[in-house]
Amino acid sequence: MSSKRSRAAYESDSAAPPQHAPYAVYGTPLPAYDPDARDDGSYVPIWKQEVTDERGRKRLHGAFSGGFSAGYFNTVGSKEGWTPATFVSSRSNRAKDGKQQGPKPEDFMDEEDLAEQAESQKLETQNAFAGLGSAEEGGQRGMFADLFRNTGETMGVKLLQRMGWRQGQGVGPKVKRRAEGDAKGELHAFAPENSRMISFHRKTDRKGLGFAGEGKLEPNDGAATTEEPDGDERDARILQSKHSKLTSKPKKTKKTGFGVGVLNDNGSDEEDAYAMGPQISYNRIIGGDKKKKGGLTASNANPTVAKPVFSSRKPTQRPAASTGFRKCHDGRLPLDGFVLSLAPLTILEETKYPAPVIPEGWSSSKSSVKPGESNAAFQSTADAAKASSLDPKSRAAMLGEQQLPGKSIFDFLSPAARDRLVAASGKSNLPQALGEGAPAGFEASEADKRRTMWDLVPAIDKQTAAAALQRGISGWMPYAEDEDKRIRYRYLLELRAGLQSNLPERPRTFSVDEWAKELGEFAHAAEVFKPISGLMASRFTSSSSAPKLASDAPEPTSTPQKEEDPAEKAAKMGMYGPLTRSRLPFYPTRLLCKRFNVKPPANAGVDPGGASGAPGAATVNANKRLDVVSQASLDRMMQEANLKPAGFVSGDTEGVEANAGPTTQQQSARVDVEKNDALEGQRAGEAVFKAIFGSDDEEDQEEEEEEDGFDLNLNLPPRDPPDLARIARDRESIKDDIRDALEDIDSKGSFAAFSHLPSFVDPQLKVDPCGPIKMPLQDVDASRIIAASHQAPFGKGEQIIVDRAVRRTWELNHDQFTIENPQFAEVLSQAVDYCSQELSIETNSEHTVEAQPYKLLLYEKGALFKPHTDTEKTPGMFGTLVICLPSKHEGGQIILTQNGEQKRFSTAQCQPSFACWYSDVTHEIKEVASGYRLVLTYNLVRTRSGTATSDPRSLRHEPLRAALHRWLRMQAISYSAPVSYELMYMLEHQYTDASLRLDSLKGPDLAKAKVLKRFADEMGFAVFLASMEREVSGGCEKTTILTTITVVREVVIGMPLMKRKRKRKRKRRMRMRTRVERAVAPMLSPMNLIAA
């Protein structure tokens, strides 16, 4: 493989030995010979080869030499070889090959250009062409003119010239003669005289010989008829190499008559029209062909230039100069008595020979029609049959059929069928129907019958049947209401799917027609319920032809057949319901919804400026409209295929999804000019700030390792120096907010409850030494009880004392009496249930409230119990239940006070009643005026105490959350200013140290504590329960006995400490702890740390 050398390189290769012939100019020259260097034609490894252009420059460069590197070692191939990118098989696409390569100029032309191009494209020869059928409309030409007229050199001329012939010479061997005018000179070989070609002109006019007539206006049958040469010329030109149009001057129109015609007016006014005589031109020269010839020879001067010349003359009016004296073509005069005809020998079109007359009486032997039959009209077979006199029997005989028994068709008809025939034909005289069976040998066999029945079974595509069957298996199948029908349907599907082979069974009650009709319906149903794939397929139509180019003529395509909507089909079949129902979103405008007093749906459209809004919605619909039903039914089919009874629900969600787009758009479009969200809107969540300002956890990574329950991962941006006054205001408002929020958290429970027992069951009380006590209480029994009992003490601080001024009651411990009646337990449990409900004590599987018998108390006349609170005698005790047994008394009301709220329960009636209250409720028993008041007291205990099991999410309390958030935020803003790190909140109930636990809190306190704890966990607060004592000094000593043991407990909300100030925080935490401890110092009970 040798690289090509350019021509220049080759020529300048002066060092090369002159081996090359100077005339070797074609092809690629071989390289110069160099005995040392290898021959350039030899093999050069591929990596050494270089591509150069015609100037010897490297064609392909690497990136550093400023070019490009192509392909594989500067080839277009690859390691694997070279494959043309678009291989076009020349076998199949030979004809198209040229057309499809690249854009043609026509592709860039507009219509005008194309029209222009089309106009310029006329099929014609390159030169004026010699021979018949020239494209030029030459008018009427002579035969030879037509045959041999040429304007270029014909091959014959060329050949003659090669043979030494020159223009103007005759053809033939040279003749030895003397030169003309030189009679004595020596002989020379001269070319023979040019002989003229014979040309025959038929004279078709009646003008005198030689008279060409005058020019006149006549229709031109061609735009520009080519100039016709004169007779001589015409004769001569046969051998004329070139007939120049240039030299042939325009023929002057021979004019006669006076004046100037329109045609002759050359525009010059000087000429006097009447000065010009009739210009009759006569040939005044006899035999004046010499001059002509000179002209002719001169006509060869420039044979290539052609100029169209207008000539209006008829060929027939050609002047025939010196006609009578013309010689024959061999130069001799014609024979005596003959005159050379000059009339053009034209073959006129009109000379048509009539067809020969057929001799009379001649007849062709080839005629196929026989004379006899030729006039017989066509007769159809049916007509022939009608005309035939043959009866069926004779026909049968002719055809050789076996004779049927001589019976008519009526013999085989059933009477019913005959009746129908009668009804149909209106003839009543039809023969009697006998209903016979078919004759022997003609009975339809069972198989035949079957076969005809088979014809009734509709054809279902195997796939369709299988698919419909599959759908039936996987889920939905029609005819749910008629199991038998469904079975038949299934059978048909199985049959058509190839699973069965027997004829579908026909129910007894069905006629064949009905049966066939039902089968048809089944087939229809199978089509309708064909599965998704089928539906999908039917929604697409395969392209019937290749994509069309714009230039392709539009094919007259038939509009595709519209697929029938499955819903329509179902409607036609009367299967209204899910199949015919579709659900789509639409976009009611807000104004419309307002007018209908309906809350606008999520997808409500914008209010129209009339047409401006509504069409928007309408367009959406219009766009969807195209595939509305089929899509919807598709979805339905899908749902049904999955056998989701709640398929319609999913339809809803689908709709909602569909709405999502428009809805969001709408929201983004809505702008409230009244409000600046950026300024007035709610502050973004902490996470946002965190994301924006980043975390500075890095600062104290090492400290992070210590686990700290007080940690709060809040990273808030530092702010400007705080406005202290504002902070103080804020703090107050935050305290108020938190307090209000906490106040709002209220359990619906009350602190005490009272009710009469629905039905009294005698407890069959049995007091230890004195036996059973009858109800209602008699004085005797009362005194017996008193005898057995002791004076009830009360606790004061940690002591238990008896002071009849404070408490004057007889009591029996619970081991001193028994309740014999087991039914009383039921009464008790009812009472307990009521109490726990009223006090809103949570009871569930883990927590049950139990009433533990405590005392039997007997209040006689004058007995009382001053205001007090109960002590919690057992763990888990939260209240007291008092059942007042029927005993007539007056007075002895229970007065309960809690947070300034007072309740007064009267037990005076003989009716049994019960009351309950939280242990911390201050209560007193008024003095009993008369009679005895006998009560059973129980300790209400929550049996299994634990933390709340209710879902903390249900305790969500948004105002509190917001307030706490604000507190947090404010804390973050003003971290350098004095901050309140703790807030305290007084609980409603009072608790002993033992019960100061989250799960022992009561009613509303519990609810609040739970909410707080939940938020604390969430936001990083710490919540403490602490007890606090308030000393009241300066009051009367006696009245403060009870209050001094009152312990005020508080919830201490620990403020989260910020990570940013970690070191300082540590100190603060310490401080806070001490402060809390100081606060509870008098009682010095351990803190309960809920957060831990």
């Binding site: 409607a571 209204y576 639409f586 009611p588 405008t589 209908f596 749906p601 069409p615 309408a618 409209r625």
Partner: protein, 317 residues
């Protein structure tokens, strides 16, 4: 309920129309008046008891095709060939609004919304338009263009707009949910009449059937048909009567057929046409009973049709 007698006595024959009567509407509530809309471009107000013509409303330039009376009887709405929806003041017999916007004749009109604040119209142009009667707006509040053919009837029940179309579908636009539910009937719908509760609707189609369709599921609850009942080419209206216990529909042969809703059986076949029983002539378009209207309070109903007469039916007692 089906045992109670259907008022099947023709009480009054209202004449004077100069062309077919296309629309009938009782005044709301007690049904003290009866409005007829006719081909002769006029709307007439009759006393159905006496048959006296009380008022003639003339503003239409083309035939009047549908009417609806507001609940307070102060206004009514009409639509017709002039592609315009007219809102009328009954007392002054003047139009309050003339809403233009449809590009085809208005086939059906109905009041809707709270206090009948809007008018709903269905047109030959295939749209249902909702017009605001409260504002002075000339433009429709909403145009519902789902129908692929002429909308032949509209009805409003609560916040649901029913629209029956010649494309064989009934579309129920639920403004509350923002969904349109389309029930395919298969044949061109000529009339839609929801039940009082709005849980079903009566729909007439051009296959000579009247169907009671379940609003919730789209299932067909009952099909009403009769061999004498013809509805194949004209817009024949049907209505529910006797507290939705019967379905009433005119027929193209000059009869009115009454069905029992529960059983689906024909309850009555009544001749609206004069001397209907006697005439043996083939029914023409003049015979078609195109409109029926029921008034629950009076237990009275009316039928009208191509003969240009309206018949008020009631009980003899």
């Amino acid at each position: 309920m089906s045992t109670s007698a259907f008022p099947s006595t023709p009480l009054v024959r209202l004449t004077g129309h100069n062309g077919p009567v296309h629309a009938l509407a009782f005044s709301s509530g007690s049904g003290q008046y009866l409005l007829t809309g006719s081909q002769d471009r006029h709307i007439r107000l009759f006393n159905p008891a006496s048959g006296k013509l009380i008022q003639k409303f003339s503003a239409h330039g083309y035939e009047v095709l549908d009417l609806d009376v507001s609940a307070d009887n102060a206004r009514f709405v009409s639509g017709g060939g002039d592609k315009t929806v007219f809102l009328w003041d009954v007392a002054s017999a003047q139009t309050l609004r003339r809403w233009q916007g449809h590009v085809g004749r208005v086939n059906a009109v109905a009041f809707g919304g709270e206090g009948d604040g809007v008018c709903v119209s269905g047109s030959f142009d295939g749209t249902v338009k909702v017009w605001d009667g409260r504002s002075r707006s000339e433009r429709a509040i909403m145009s519902l263009g789902e129908a692929r053919d002429s909308v032949s009837c509209v009805a409003v029940r609560g916040h649901e707009v029913f629209a029956g179309s010649v494309d064989g579908k009934v579309r129920v636009y639920d403004l509350g949910s923002g969904f349109v539910e389309t029930d395919v009937l298969g044949e061109s719908v000529t009339s839609v009449c929801p039940t009082k509760a709005g849980d079903a609707y009566l729909v007439s189609t051009l296959d000579s059937k009247v169907r009671l369709m379940d609003r919730g599921s789209g299932a067909c609850l009952q099909v009403f048909g009769d061999e004498g009942f013809v509805n194949e080419s004209y817009r024949v209206r049907s209505t529910m009567g006797m507290a939705d216990a019967v379905a009433i529909s005119g027929s193209e042969d000059g009869r009115v057929v009454v069905w029992d809703v529960l059983t689906g059986k024909v309850k009555d076949r009544l001749w609206h046409k004069r001397d209907g029983e006697k005439s043996k002539a083939a029914s023409t378009k003049k015979d078609a009973v195109s409109a029926v209207a029921w008034n629950q309070m009076r237990k009275m109903w009316a039928s009208a049709g191509g003969d240009g007469e309206a018949v008020v039916w009631g009980s003899v007692d």
